[in-house]
Amino acid sequence: MSTAVTTPVGRMAALARAEMVLFGRSKGTLVAALFVPLTLPFAMRSAVEELDLKDAGLSVGLVMLPAAIGFSLLFAVYSSLVSVFTARREELVLKRLRTGELRDAEVLAGAALPAVVTGFVQCVLLAVGCTVLLDLGAPSAPHLAVLGLLLGLSASVTLAALTASFTRTVESAQVTTLPVLMITMLGSGVIVPLELLPDRLASACELLPLTPVITLVRGGWSGDLSGTEALTAIATAVAWTVVAVFAVRRWFRWEPRR
C-alpha cells in the first residue's frame, strides 16, 4: 500500500477523468454540447446579414463570433453542467463523494472540468473559424477576449450549479435552464447586438450575467472598447460569479429531496 497523500489537483483530476468517460457515454449531452454550438451560428448567419450593422460600427463577423462563443458557453458548458450536477445528485454520487477527502468545491469543479475544457476548446475553434471564414482579421485586444472567455466559463459553471440547486430531475433541467438560455440569447447581445437595442433597454441588458462576456469578446476583436467600458464589463462578470458562488454555497443541494 502506498502512503501517497492526495492533493486537490489529484483528486479533481481523478473525478474529471471519470466525468470525461461519462460525458462520452451520454449521447444526448454529447450532441447538445458538441453539435448545437457549432451549427447555430451558421443557422443565424443569413439573419445577421439582414441586420443594419454599418451604423452601429459592426460587421457580420463581429456579431457572429461573440454569438458563437455565447452558444458554446450556454450549451456546451451551462446546460450540460446543469444536467451533470443534477444527475450526480439524484444518483447520490455527490453525497458519496462528500464522505471522502474531496472538498465541496473540488467535487463541483472536478465534475465541471470536462465541460469547461470542451467549452474552451470549442470557443477557440469557433474563434479561429469565424476569424478566417468571415474576414475578421486578428483581434486588436486579444487579452480582453481571453479574459472575457475565462469569465464566461466561470460564470457558466457557477450559474449551472445554481440552476441545478433548483432542478429536481435531469428531465426538468430542460425547463429550468430556459430562463438563463432565453435571457442570454435575447438580452446579452448573442443574437441581437445591444448596439441595435434602444438605449435604456441596452443599459439594463448590460447587467445580465453573460453580457460582459459578449462585450469583452467583441471588444477584443474590434478594439473599440474604452478602458472604462472594459472595466465595467469585467466588474459585472466578476460580481455575477461572486453572487452565484454565494448563492450556490447557500442553496446547493447535495442530496435528492425525499
Binding site: 501517497a4 492526495t6 473525478l15 477523468r17 444518483e91 477527502e101 474531496l102
Partner: protein
C-alpha cells in the same frame, strides 16, 4: 493522540439533530467506541440511526452537542479526519454508466494511501465484475462495491450504514467475516443495522435507538439480559390458567392468555420450565406447541420499543 489501544476513537456527547422543519431526529444521545471495537446502532426506521451517522461522517453538523472522531470534529476538521475514515452510505452513490473498475479507479484517486483497486475488489469478491457497468449490478453487488471503496484507504474508522441490506445469506456471512477480520486488525467499526442477528453476531457493544434517543446500550449479552425469557404453550382441554401451579412460585413475572395459548415471562427460565413440565407430567397432560426460549436481542428490541412508547421519559442507561 496516544495509541494505547484503549482510547475512544468515536465520542458522542449529548448529540441533538433538529431538521429545518423543527423535527428532532436525534434527541440528545451519548456513546463512545474504543479502538478495534464494533459498535452497532440499532433501531427501527426513523429511529435516528442515519441522522446520527451522518454527523459522525462529517456530512452534517450537530444542532447541539459534540462529536469527536479520532479526536477531531469531523465536520469542521474534515481534512484531519477524512483520510483516516471509510464510509459506506445506506444507498449507492455511483454513476450508473461507469464500470466497476472505472468507479474504483476514480475513487482511488481521491483516497490517501489507496491500495490497488483490484485488491479492494478481491476483498469483497468482486474481481470478476470489474468490467461490468454499475447499472447492471445487483443490489447486493452494489453493496459490495461500496464496501470495497470504503476499504480502499485502509481506514482506522469504518462507518457502515446497513451494509448487508440486499445481500443473500452467503454474501452476508462473507461481509460479517470481513468486518470481524478488520476489527481484529484494529479497525473501529460503527455499524447501523436493522438485522438484529447481525448486531448480535458482530457487535462488541451496541445501542438501541428509539425515537432519537438511546433506549439501552451495552454488550449484546447485557442488553438481552434486560429482557425476560418466554415460555409459550397451549392449555390442554378442560384446563384453565388457574389450574397451573401458582405462577409466582414458578418464578414467572407475567403472563398473557390468547385464546388457549398461554405466554409466560420469567427471568428464571430453568425454574419456571421445570415447574411447568413437572406439573404437566403429574397431571398426565401434553403441552401442545410448547416453546421455551431465552431472551434474544430481537425480544429485547421489541420489548424496548414497546416500553419506550408506553413511557414518555425513557430510562437512559449509559455505559461509559
Amino acid at each position: 493522540m496516544e495509541n494505547n489501544g484503549h482510547e475512544h476513537v468515536i465520542e458522542v456527547t449529548d448529540l441533538r439533530r433538529v431538521y429545518g422543519g423543527g423535527f428532532e431526529a436525534v434527541g440528545g444521545i451519548s456513546f463512545s467506541a474504543r479502538r478495534g471495537e464494533v459498535f452497532a446502532l440499532l433501531g427501527t426506521n426513523g429511529a435516528g440511526k442515519t441522522s446520527t451517522v451522518e454527523v459522525l461522517e462529517g456530512l452534517a453538523s450537530p444542532t447541539s452537542g459534540t462529536v469527536r472522531v479520532l479526536g477531531h470534529d469531523p465536520y469542521t476538521e474534515r481534512a484531519a479526519v477524512r483520510p483516516r475514515t471509510g464510509v459506506m452510505l445506506q444507498e449507492g452513490g455511483f454513476p450508473s454508466e461507469l464500470t466497476v473498475a472505472e468507479t474504483t479507479r476514480m475513487w482511488a484517486g481521491c483516497v490517501s494511501g489507496a491500495r490497488p483497486g483490484h485488491e479492494a475488489l478481491a476483498l469483497v469478491g468482486m474481481t470478476g465484475k470489474a468490467d461490468v457497468r454499475v447499472k447492471q449490478l445487483s443490489g447486493g453487488e452494489r453493496r459490495r462495491l461500496d464496501l470495497a471503496l470504503a476499504l480502499l484507504g485502509g481506514p482506522e474508522v469504518l462507518f457502515l450504514d446497513e451494509p448487508t441490506t440486499g445481500l443473500d445469506a452467503e454474501g452476508r456471512r462473507d461481509t460479517w467475516d470481513l468486518v470481524r477480520a478488520l476489527r481484529d486488525g484494529g479497525t473501529t467499526v460503527l455499524l447501523t443495522t436493522h438485522y438484529l442477528e447481525e448486531a448480535e453476531s458482530l457487535a462488541d457493544r451496541l445501542a438501541i435507538l428509539h425515537e432519537g434517543r438511546i433506549a439501552v446500550t451495552g454488550t449484546p449479552a447485557e442488553v438481552t439480559a434486560t429482557q425476560p425469557s418466554r415460555i409459550t404453550f397451549e392449555l390442554p382441554e378442560n384446563f384453565f390458567v388457574g389450574d397451573l401451579p401458582p405462577l409466582d412460585q414458578l418464578g414467572v413475572s407475567g403472563h398473557e392468555v390468547d385464546g388457549r395459548v398461554v405466554r409466560l415471562r420469567t427471568r428464571e427460565l430453568q425454574r419456571a420450565a421445570t415447574g411447568l413440565l413437572v406439573w404437566a407430567e403429574r397431571a398426565g397432560v401434553e403441552l401442545h406447541r410448547l416453546d421455551v426460549r431465552s431472551a434474544s436481542l430481537e425480544e429485547a428490541f421489541l420489548g424496548i420499543a414497546r416500553e419506550v412508547s408506553e413511557k414518555p421519559a425513557p430510562v437512559q442507561e449509559r455505559v461509559a
